[in-house]
C-alpha cells in the first residue's frame, strides 16, 4: 500500500537525519579531545554520507521510489592544527599539540541542516497520516 510505504520512507528519512545529528553531537563533544601520549593523533571529525536505497519490493514493485540510508560514517581527512603547549601530556618533542580538526561553525551548520530536513520529513509524515485517516473515515 502506497501510504504505508510513504510512512516508511519518511521514517527512514527521520532515522538518517537523527544519525547525522548524533554524529554532529559526537564531533562537538570531542572538539577538545587531544591524544593522551606525546605526539598522538587527536580526535578526527566524523562525517555521514547518505545514499539513496531503492527497495526491491516484491509483487507490486517498489515503483522506483528510493528510501534513504546512512551509507557510510567516515572520517574527515585534513591536517590537524597545532598549538604550542609544552606542558600538555600530548605535546611532541617540539612542544606542539595536535588539535582535533573539528570546526564548530561547520558542525552548527550541519546541525541546522539536519534539523531542517528532519522537520521536513515530519511534515510529510503528518500529511501522509492525514491522508490515511481520511481513507479510514470513508469507512464510516
Amino acid at each position: 500500500m502506497d501510504l504505508d510505504r510513504a510512512l516508511r520512507v519518511s521514517a527512514a528519512g527521520l532515522q538518517a537525519q537523527s544519525t547525522r545529528l548524533r554524529v554532529v553531537a559526537e564531533n562537538l563533544a570531542n572538539r577538545d579531545s587531544t591524544g593522551s601520549s606525546p605526539g598522538a593523533d587527536p580526535y578526527r571529525r566524523k562525517t555521514v554520507t547518505f545514499g539513496a536505497h531503492v527497495e526491491r519490493g516484491l509483487g507490486a514493485g517498489g515503483g522506483g521510489v528510493a528510501t534513504v540510508k546512512v551509507s557510510r560514517v567516515g572520517t574527515a581527512p585534513g591536517a590537524f592544527e597545532e598549538t604550542y603547549d609544552p606542558a600538555h601530556p600530548a605535546a611532541d618533542a617540539r612542544g606542539y599539540v595536535k588539535r582535533p580538526n573539528v570546526n564548530s561553525l561547520v558542525e552548527m551548520m550541519d546541525m541546522r541542516e539536519a534539523q531542517r530536513s528532519y522537520s521536513a520529513n515530519v511534515s510529510v509524515l503528518e500529511v501522509t497520516r492525514g491522508m490515511l485517516t481520511r481513507i479510514i473515515e470513508t469507512l464510516r
Partner: protein
Amino acid sequence: MTTEARPTTDLLRLTERRMAWLEARQRVLAGNVANADTPGYQPRDVRSFASVLAGAGGGGAPMAATDPRHLTARNDPMLARPDRSAPDSAPNGNAVSLDREALKVAETDSAHSLAAALHRRYLGMFRTALGRQG
C-alpha cells in the same frame, strides 16, 4: 466493464483512481524529501493524472509470472520517473528543493481531501436512495 453508462458509479471509480494516484504520488514525494541531502539524487514524480487516465484504457494485461521474484515488464503507470523540471542542483549533485516538494505535498493533500469528500458524497447519495440518513 459494462458499456451502459452509469454516471454515479463511474464517478465513484474515478475518485478511487484519483486517490490511488495521489497516494502513489505522496509516496514518491516522501522519497524526495527523505533524500533531500543525498548526494547525486534527482527528484522524481509520477506521470500526470490525465495521462495515467488516458493510458489506462489500452494498457494491456500485465506479464504473467510464476514466481513473485520474477522481473516483469514495468508497464505500471504509477511508476516514478525523474522530474525533468527540477531546478539546478546543489554542488553535491542533489536537485531536491524542499519548498518545491512542500508545495507538491500540499497540493496532493488538498486534492486527496477533495477526492475523499466527493467519494463520501456519492456514497451518501446511495444511502439517501436507500432511504437512510446519509
